[in-house]
């Protein structure tokens, strides 16, 4: 039995396989979340709270991306699904899980000065941007993918890097506590737009390469209905279009929030004055 999905080189079958590492991770995450949520005020917890729903959606994304069948297909058969997995684990899930955390959890971090200082440094927008894009470039480098994907530990390392990179990337945008008052809505929007541009390099590399770049997927037992090259091109397109859609959704949400806050400001000033 495998604890994490990896490239096995055996023909694909639709026979269900358990990946105990994924379940253990999700169980740990859920237990930790329940403990954190217990300390939160009632408005931020319970089944009606948007934060609970955001956490649930984030955990679901992780489970769907890492467990059978998507996890197994992405690890050893299709580069396009590997890209879907990246978008779920490295982009969507971190944003949703951060949105799911109660404000009190962020505030509690301030009581741990060392961790708070480290997080503050790591999640500086410039550093977060560079780190995330370094992680994306490193984890999509053919030598890294082909070297790590055949082992469970290697495959886990790639998933962990994606998730850590995504968390750092979204932190400055999602964190509800005003850690950086000068990182305003226009700057947050600019930060996300800049990232839509940064993904162009790996997109172009995958989409316009005339030969398959990953041995893992080129030499994998074939899946009916898609050639190796089409699979790789689809991976590149998914990275650009799928990633772009996620970022532009976030940009739209930020813009709406910014607009609403701006609209509400005169009323608040009137009440105060």
């Amino acid at each position: 039995m495998q604890w994490w999905c990896s490239a096995q080189g055996v023909a694909w079958t639709w026979t269900w396989r358990p990946y105990v590492g994924v379940w253990a991770l999700l169980l740990l995450m859920t237990v930790a979340y329940v403990r954190i949520a217990r300390a939160a005020p009632p408005a931020e917890r319970g089944p009606r709270s948007p934060r609970t729903w955001a956490f649930g959606a984030g955990a679901f994304c992780l489970w769907a991306a890492l467990d059978w069948p998507l996890g197994a297909l992405a690890a050893g058969y299709l580069a396009s699904l590997h890209m879907v997995q990246f978008l779920l684990v490295g982009v969507i899930a971190p944003a949703l899980l951060l949105l799911g955390l109660p404000v009190s959890a962020y505030l509690r971090l301030r009581t741990e000065p060392r961790m708070h200082a480290a997080l503050r440094a790591l999640t500086h927008p410039l550093i977060a941007f560079v780190l995330f894009n370094l992680v994306v470039a490193f984890t999509h480098w053919p030598a890294v993918v082909d070297g790590l994907m055949p082992s469970q530990l290697g495959s886990f390392a790639i998933d962990a890097l994606w998730f850590a990179g995504g968390t750092v990337f979204w932190w400055p945008v999602v964190c509800p506590v005003p850690e950086r008052p000068r990182f305003t809505y226009p700057l947050k929007i600019g930060y996300l737009i800049l990232n839509t541009v940064a993904s162009t390099a790996p997109f172009a590399y995958l989409t316009f390469s005339s030969l398959p770049v990953y041995a893992t997927y080129e030499l994998a037992p074939p899946i009916e209905g898609i050639t190796k090259r089409a699979d790789q091109q689809l991976a590149g397109i998914l990275m650009k279009i799928g990633g772009g859609l996620i970022l532009w959704t976030a940009i739209t949400a930020l813009f709406v929030r910014w607009y609403r806050e701006d609209e509400a400001r005169p009323a608040r000033l009137r009440e105060a004055g």
């Binding site: 053919p142 030499l219 090259r229």
Partner: protein, 207 residues
């Protein structure tokens, strides 16, 4: 000569190719990326039946052409479709001049299940010009032994019926030059980049 049996050894081969490959599935062998043989394999002389039911004289029909000969079977879950798919993909890119100099011949190692129609339809998924041949197990074994390849072996599946089995077979594509003998073989792990590098060179060597 070094022979590799596909089948149960594939997961190991796959991991080794992926780990060692890093963009290359085959060790460089001077001019070629395939495995250059110390002793060339003479072009074999045999007649089998093609997918239209006609006798196919291998030596006469492929004379003067670079010929990629592969022994496999259409139910193969991995090595055979990967080799055929990669060769077909690269042949689509090499240009008409190179393309017309190359013949691809697939000999089934599973004649019990591989009917001529099945071989034809399977090969057509890759390239309609690929030649499919069928003979008795004894004939095919004789040809393989003559070329120094390991003969194929039926590997029953533990949970399957009598028609559910794998066939362990030599996993390399043997590349005969237009001048006759084969000097290079392409084991499992050969990538499209390797084929794209070697096919024009194989043609350029000439008769």
């Amino acid at each position: 000569m070094h022979c590799v049996l596909a089948g149960r050894t594939l997961p190991f081969l796959f991991a080794a190719a992926a780990l060692a490959g890093c963009g290359r599935g085959v060790e460089a062998g001077g001019e070629f990326r395939g495995e250059v043989l110390a002793e060339p394999i003479p072009r074999p002389d045999f007649i089998l039946t093609d997918t239209s039911g006609e006798p196919f004289d291998f030596r006469a029909e492929t004379d003067g052409h670079v010929t990629l000969l592969f022994f496999g079977y259409t139910h193969c879950p991995d090595v055979c479709p990967i080799h055929m798919g990669n060769i077909a993909a690269v042949l689509g890119d090499v240009g008409w001049r190179v393309r017309q100099e190359i013949k691809v011949v697939f000999v089934t190692t599973d004649p019990a299940r591989d009917t001529p129609a099945r071989i034809r339809s399977w090969l057509d998924r890759f390239d309609a010009s690929f030649i499919g041949l069928r003979g008795s197990p004894a004939e095919v074994e004789r040809i393989q032994r003559g070329m120094g390849l390991a003969p194929s072996v039926i590997q029953p599946l533990p949970e399957g019926g009598p028609a559910d089995y794998l066939v362990g077979h030599a996993a390399q594509v043997v590349a005969f030059g237009a001048d006759g003998p084969a000097r290079v073989v392409y084991p499992f792990g050969t990538r499209q980049a390797d084929w794209a590098h070697d096919l024009p060179r194989l043609v350029a060597v000439g008769p």
